[in-house]
Amino acid sequence: MTYVLTSDDKPLTGFGALRAAVSSLDPRMRIVMTVFYAITVVALDDLRVLSGALILSMWLLAISGLPFQKTLKRMAMMDGFIIFTLILLPFTMPGTPMFSVFGFDATWEGLWRATEIALTANAVILAVMTLVGSMEPVTMGHALFALKTPERLVHLMMFTIRYIDVLREEYLRLRTSMKLRGFRPGTNWHTYRSYGYLVGMMLVRAIERSERILAAMKCRGFSGRIVLLEEFRLTRTDVLFAVALSIALAALVCAEVTYAAY
């Protein structure tokens, strides 16, 4: 998702090119731990514990070696998607009124719920960005394959990685040639029709290209299976990292249970 949001970067280079410290860890372990992390954090609801989770995510970011500002900026972009839910929540939850705007009461319960969602979302997205987002997409594909993700899905992802740039360049070439012939988008039928042609032409070209690729693959003896080359090794650092993170998660769960008892 982060790729879609930052138009200045080339698609699919992401943070992978940064060679952050975290990228030396086994990608399989990172994916699995991210899943555990997300499940645990989503299950928490005490605000104090969730704050702890966010601090844990920040700590992950700190040791990952990713650029602080850039990563937090991307996290803030994700907040853009949920901001309206967060603002509206206090007004839609029934409970003790806090203040009222145009006759609509904002409630404390709603505010707490909104804070809870914001904390959960940010803690999880930050962990995903540091642990999984720092992977080259190709590595992620291989790691997913090693984790027994269905082969077809992995190949689908790999082909997307390989050809999204080709399609993007095709799109840019077509756009440039439109621009060079004086095309200025506006709110009129000519614009709609031209965009229609553009999208249609890209579809046609994509289909033709896929046929040529299949032909090229057949010429090299393709029979329906692609064998992936990369092999991963779980090192002691990986195990240490996984254990440390598990302990931290267990501590969060303990805290949640303890607070819930009061």
């Binding site: 080709v166 032909a215 010429c219 090299r220 064998v227």
Partner: protein
């Protein structure tokens, strides 16, 4: 015995006028032939027919002393004939160069280690070792072209078919390609609009004229 023999090939794309009518040719071991003809004459079509990617409406394809009629006949043929496509982006579909070069050998049933050994060997021979772990779509046009050649050579074909291999090559990469091709011992069938390149690699050959092949 010829490696490839086409006899009286007829072909037409659905709803269009015929492209080939009675085209015949042979490629003997050690031959280096080029096929010339204007744009749209059907040169690429002819190459696709040889590879079994298109099915002729009439005529015989014989390769390595066997008639090739059904899709299954072409499986073995494709292992023995290496085809370098016009657009390198069509051929390089794996994320990294090493994986792309290994794709063919893995399809031939080689183990991972054997495939990797072939990758190193082929890239070493072509002087492309520095590209081994590069991401394919980030290569330059010339690098892509040389890598496509490596992906095909990794299968150790007996015949090499090249469709416009000099497209978008700078003089350096052009010289590299000529040097590499001259050092190979495979029979070559070349389609190229570049007269200098043809003179260097495959001066003899056929002209595609009036939907048939004429020996030059």
């Amino acid at each position: 015995m010829p490696l490839i023999e086409l006899t009286d090939i007829h072909f037409a794309y659905p709803t269009l006028d015929p492209v080939l009518e009675g085209a015949s040719m042979r490629l003997e071991p050690g031959d280096r032939l080029s096929i010339v003809g204007p744009n749209g004459a059907g040169k690429s079509t002819l190459l696709k027919i040889i590879m079994g990617l298109l099915v002729p409406t009439q005529g015989m394809i014989t390769a390595f002393e066997k008639p090739r009629i059904e899709e299954a006949d072409f499986h073995e043929l494709r292992r023995r004939i290496g085809f370098v496509f016009q657009d390198a982006d069509d051929q390089l579909f794996c994320p990294t160069v090493a994986e792309d070069v290994a794709f063919g050998p893995l399809n031939l049933g080689k183990s991972k280690d054997e495939a990797l050994a072939i990758v190193d060997d082929v890239l070493g021979r072509l002087g492309l070792m520095h590209l081994r772990d590069r991401v394919t779509h980030k290569l330059s046009g010339g690098e892509k072209r040389l890598v496509t050649l490596a992906t095909v050579l990794a299968m150790e074909p007996e015949v090499l078919i090249l469709d416009e291999p000099t497209n978008a090559l700078d003089p350096d990469n052009y010289a590299r390609l000529v040097e590499i091709l001259k050092g190979l011992d495979q029979a070559i069938l070349l389609v190229s609009h570049d007269p200098d390149f043809r003179a260097e690699i495959a001066p003899e050959g056929y002209r595609l004229e009036n939907r048939a092949l004429v020996r030059l």
